[in-house]
Amino acid sequence: MLTQQQIDQFHTFGVLILRNVLSNNDIAKLNEEFDTKLETTFRGEANGAKPIHCSWSNTGPDTSFTSSLLEDPRIYGIPEALFDDEVYGVSCTATSFIDDTPWHPDSDLFQLHGIKVIIYLETLNGDNGALRVIPGSHLNPYHDELHAIGMLADFGNRPLPSSPYLIESGLTIKDVPALICSVTPGDVIVFNFRIWHASTGGKFDRRFISNMFIKDPVTPEEEKAVSELIQTTNKNRVKRARETFPHPNPEYHPEWLSNPDKNPKRQCNIDWMRKKGYFEVYETSLI
């Protein structure tokens, strides 16, 4: 699936771009499901009635092709190649973005080995919202140094969240040195949860599918990090759902959990998540 050089590159830089992993037909199906879901999805507002991005879980029956990516060897084969230990697919979400995404990492947990495999449904470059990542920023001391200088966006800062460092410097997202991940539909970007990333210049309804994978924890520290992740992710998803749905649904739809086609990969993921307490946490909050 990945060459040894690609594996080494991923661990050094924290990011990999793989070209033409999905076909045009796949992208058309993803867009079709995305359209269906958007029609029934509420886009919240903030900052004086400005629309904000919306996001949903793809485990529902309307998006069965999208959620099957977690069980597609073209996708799960990537994180599996990166680690000797087992890796499990724990979520597949879609997001319709608007505006910029300020600089942030998805996690600061150094004992957590999380991988995102993401797919954009349109051609993107540095001028229209391509993902920007700071290569190597998943590693310390670099990762923490970016926190120390104030790179993390203050999401309470309105009208648009920005990093205290950028505000003080009079700089913008694009002034931060970074790799611009230009992509065409069918490409996938793989990144470590800890890498610092952002985007700028994207138009309304920039479409994004995110598949999250976690390496099986083998030490008590790694185990603790997975528990922390479950709690944090749940909190974030609940908040997001409040902004997105008038009538929230479960993050993991009962039909998906029932695994009607008895897909062994899905079952494996479900069993692992059950063991790790995912469903205990998530069942308390309908999202």
Partner: protein, 273 residues
């Protein structure tokens, strides 16, 4: 001078792009001096593998303005701001690159404290030879990890999996205009891709006078290699200093101090009376 945030940015990422740091008039003078220098050079002296680089020092009588820039407070002052007061101006060079690429490399071994200003004098972007830098790669751990990555052009893996081409390495592309400069820590990994057959570059180079044993050892090692290289290859960057510059005709105290330091480091055998 730099703002506090620019200083932070330099130390965090190992480089900084300064926009329009030279005036249009200065750009004209600098370009003329580079062309004069190029006209003087033996064109058989292009070196550097794929990059096909011809370079020469600007510390010579035909480039008085470039010579003066090394001591100009606009640049020397910034070097002091970033490296501390005790900074030594090492050289200013002009370069013509005919090759379309420069492979990934840092300029110096770990612990060496120094920086260079680079001016490309023409507008460059990712498809025309702009400087590519891996931000943060001046940090030892990250730099060591990059050293292990297989690079098709200068650290290849096996033929069936040779590694990354220059333009595949995750990096920041420094798009620059004719009057811009990039200040870069010598330890940062950098490269270029798809350059034209006549890419111009001017550098101003500074070193921190080493303080710690590690810095002293790194400088000693670097200078020893530079001196050895100079003995072997008359066309390398590490040439001898001209009598013109060493004579310090304006009795600049800054230059006098630098000359004394360069002599101490073994780069100058004898200063003319």
């Amino acid at each position: 001078m730099l703002t506090e945030q620019q200083v932070t940015q330099f130390h965090t990422f190992g480089f900084l792009v300064l926009r329009n740091i030279i005036t249009e008039d200065e750009h004209k003078i600098v370009s003329e001096e580079v062309e004069k220098g190029y006209a003087n050079k033996d064109k058989s002296e292009f070196i550097g593998g794929e990059r096909l680089q011809l370079n020469w020092t600007n510390l010579v009588p035909i480039s008085p303005y470039l010579t003066s820039l090394l001591e100009n407070p606009r640049f020397y002052g910034i070097a002091q701001q970033l490296l501390g007061e005790d900074v030594v101006g090492f050289d200013t060079t002009s370069n013509i690159m005919k090759g379309d690429r420069t492979t990934w490399h840092p300029d110096a071994p770990p612990n060496l404290q120094g920086l260079k200003f680079t001016f490309y004098l023409d507008r460059l972007d990712g498809e025309s030879g702009a400087l590519r830098i891996i931000p943060g790669s001046h940090q030892v751990g990250f730099s060591d990890a990059i050293r292990e990555v297989r690079l098709k052009d200068n650290n290849p893996g096996p033929p069936e999996d040779p590694g990354l081409a220059i333009n595949e390495v995750p990096c920041h592309i420094c798009e620059t205009g004719p009057r811009d400069a990039v200040i870069m820590n010598y330890l940062n990994w950098h490269a270029s891709w798809h350059g034209s057959s006549r890419r111009r570059m001017v550098t101003l180079k500074y070193y921190k006078n080493p303080k710690s044993p590690e810095e002293t050892e790194a400088l000693r090692k670097h200078m020893t290699e530079a001196i050895e290289d100079r003995k072997k290859n008359k066309t390398t960057i590490n040439r001898t200093y001209s009598e013109f510059w060493l004579s310090n005709p304006d009795n600049s105290p800054v230059r006098a101090r630098w000359i004394s330091k360069l002599q101490e480091w073994g780069l100058i055998d004898k200063v003319p009376a």
